[in-house]
Structures are given as structure tokens and as C-alpha cells.
């Protein structure tokens, strides 16, 4: 057991850094569970309305630019890879490399957001908006409007999480670059990564639900 008594990162009520890391990791996983359930309400609503308005939903889905969703998937998956590599670098004590990889991930997050913004712009222009603002009118019944309600809720909440994730990666990346972490203690790097992977994980489900089926 690595004695972390000297390490300033050790809080007074933990007996060792190892135990503290375990606690922090568990806490993060619990937090991620709440995030998953936060999205679950939206996915359940999506499931119900897709079941009720199957035709309208597939029609509306076909109207989306699938290639943008696809490219965004590639971008986000790749950013997850760089975050994972960043953790690996931090574990080996290479703070600079770790920070650099995190910045690279933020860059990919920006690409993701930019593509998303282009898509949103297009939806605004063509009146594909939620609920009462839906004016596209190509799809009979309420299904089209509901699809775009859920589209904006799900992608909007996800984009919000991407923003938070980028902020977290930025803060931790800078600290990492400045050498705040060591092979013994780099839990924050790991937790920031976990958050980013969750954002990726959710997108992996959003992509087929919104764009493909």
C-alpha cells in the first residue's frame, strides 16, 4: 500500500490514497448512474412515441443529414480514444502528453459542436422545431413535431453534457500540463475521462435512435 501521508491530495478522513481513489471512483460511477437515468426518461419518451408514431418518426428521421450524425459519431469515438490515451499518459507520469491529448479531445468536441450547430441552423431554417413551433408540415399528424421535440431535447441535453465535458477536460488538462498529477495520484484525470466516455456512450445510442431508425 503506497503511503500517501505526505501527499497533499489525501483528505484527513481517508486512511490512504488508494482508498480515497476507490471512493472517488465509486462516487463518480454513482454520479454517472444518475446521468444515465436522467437520459433514460428522454429515451423512454422517445421509445413510447416512436412506437405510437412509427411512420412519422422514420419519415422525420430520414429527413436528417445522416452523414453529419455519422461523422459526429466518428469524431466523438475518436475523442474518447484520445482521452483514454491521455489517462494512460498520466498514469505513466507524462503530464504534458496527457494534457495535450485532452486538448486534442476538446478540439474534437468543438468539431462535434460545430457540426451540431450547422444541423440546428438547418432545422431552424426549415421549421423543423419542437412542438408548437413545428412548421415544416411535411409529416402528417403530430408525429413530426414530437420527433423534433425529442430530437432537440435529447441532442440538446447531450450537447450540454459535451460542453460540461469539454470544460472539465480543459481544467484537468491544464492542471495535468502543469504537472499536478503523478503516477501515484491522478484520479481527477481518470474521473474527467469517465465523464467524457459517458458522453460518448450516450451518443452511441443517440446516433442510431435519431438518425438511423
Amino acid at each position: 500500500m503506497s503511503s500517501g501521508a505526505a501527499n497533499p491530495a489525501l483528505a484527513h478522513h481517508f486512511e490512504s490514497l488508494e482508498k480515497q481513489a476507490h471512493a472517488q471512483r465509486l462516487g463518480m460511477w454513482l454520479f454517472l448512474a444518475t446521468e444515465i437515468l436522467l437520459f433514460t426518461a428522454l429515451f423512454a419518451a422517445y421509445g413510447v412515441y416512436r412506437f405510437l408514431y412509427a411512420d412519422a418518426f422514420s419519415e422525420a428521421s430520414r429527413g436528417l443529414a445522416t452523414w453529419m450524425g455519422g461523422v459526429n459519431t466518428f469524431v466523438l469515438v475518436t475523442s474518447s480514444l484520445t482521452v483514454a490515451l491521455g489517462l494512460d499518459a498520466a498514469a505513466r507520469g507524462d503530464g504534458r502528453r496527457s494534457g495535450g491529448l485532452f486538448f486534442l479531445s476538446i478540439g474534437m468536441g468543438l468539431v462535434f459542436m460545430a457540426l451540431k450547430a450547422v444541423e440546428y441552423r438547418h432545422h431552424f431554417a426549415s421549421g423543423e422545431l419542437p412542438g408548437q413551433y413545428y412548421t415544416a408540415g411535411a409529416i402528417a399528424g403530430s408525429g413530426g413535431a414530437l420527433f423534433f421535440t425529442l430530437y432537440f431535447l435529447i441532442t440538446g441535453l447531450h450537447a450540454f453534457h459535451v460542453l460540461i465535458g469539454m470544460t472539465v477536460l480543459g481544467v484537468i488538462g491544464v492542471k495535468s500540463w502543469r504537472g499536478a498529477y503523478s503516477p501515484e495520484y491522478h484520479v481527477p484525470v481518470e474521473l474527467a475521462g469517465l465523464y467524457w466516455h459517458l458522453v460518448d456512450l450516450i451518443w452511441i445510442f443517440v446516433f442510431p435512435l435519431i438518425y438511423l431508425i
Binding site: 481513489a21 471512483r25 465509486l26 413510447v48 405510437l52 474518447s80 408525429g143 475521462g193
Partner: protein
């Protein structure tokens, strides 16, 4: 505590073999699966099969991310349990709400949704009410 041969900081530190190769393999698999699900969607597999395939691929991808990028593969039991439990509740909420919409009195669903005019007529006028479950099934 017994499960603590986990990704402890110390272990990360002197792990001679880093995870880089594993990460790259997983990344490659994710890219291939993304391309696959994209390609399959262009075939427009009819009915629920397309949905099922797309969700199955997404689940595999999600599993890869959770296991390897998020290190559930080599972590303590508690973290895995938290993640699995949350998935159980995801399934629970989605499953039971959908079951309701799928089996309720058809007219209790939105009128311009899945209920065709024929169903509407049958439900209003048909002397036989729509199928309801047998008490024996419980």
C-alpha cells in the same frame, strides 16, 4: 476488498504494458461498428428488425466503451454493480412504459398515432372489446 487488484494508481504506475494497444483495438472496433450500423441503415431493413439490429450494435459499442475505455473490465465489483444496476432500471422504465402503450385499450393511445381508423371503428363499434389479458396469465 478482495477485488482490489484493480486499476489502482500504483498499478497504473508500474504497469509495464500500458493500455495503449488495447485502446487502439477498441477504437478500431468502434469505428468499424459505426460504419456497419450506418451501412445497414441504408438497407432499410423492414419492421422491428432494423431497430433491433441498430440497438444491438449500439449495445456492443456501448459495452466496449464501458468495459475498456471506462475500465469496468479491470475494476472493482462495486463500480460494475452500479453500472449494471442503472442499466436494469433503464430497461425497467422503458420496458414497462412501452408495454403499457402496446397493450392498452387502443383508443387510449393518441388518436392519430398507431391506431388506424379501422381500429378506431372496431374499438368503438365492434361488439367485441379489444383483447385484454386473461387473469389466468398472472
Amino acid at each position: 476488498m478482495s477485488a482490489s487488484h484493480a486499476s489502482t494508481p500504483a498499478r497504473h504506475g508500474h504497469a509495464a504494458h500500458s493500455h495503449v494497444a488495447r485502446y487502439l483495438r477498441v477504437w478500431l472496433a468502434l469505428m468499424v461498428l459505426t460504419a456497419l450500423t450506418w451501412g445497414l441503415s441504408r438497407l432499410h431493413i423492414p419492421g422491428g428488425a432494423g431497430v433491433a439490429v441498430a440497438l444491438a450494435i449500439a449495445s456492443v459499442k456501448g459495452g466496449l466503451v464501458a468495459l475498456f475505455f471506462m475500465h469496468l473490465y479491470d475494476q472493482r465489483g462495486a463500480n460494475r454493480l452500479v453500472f449494471l444496476t442503472s442499466l436494469v432500471f433503464v430497461a425497467l422504465l422503458i420496458g414497462l412504459t412501452l408495454l403499457d402503450n402496446a397493450t392498452r385499450f387502443p383508443l387510449a393511445n393518441p388518436p392519430d398515432a398507431g391506431t388506424s381508423p379501422r381500429q378506431v371503428r372496431d374499438a368503438i363499434l365492434g361488439s367485441q372489446p379489444p383483447a385484454t389479458p386473461h387473469p389466468a396469465s398472472h
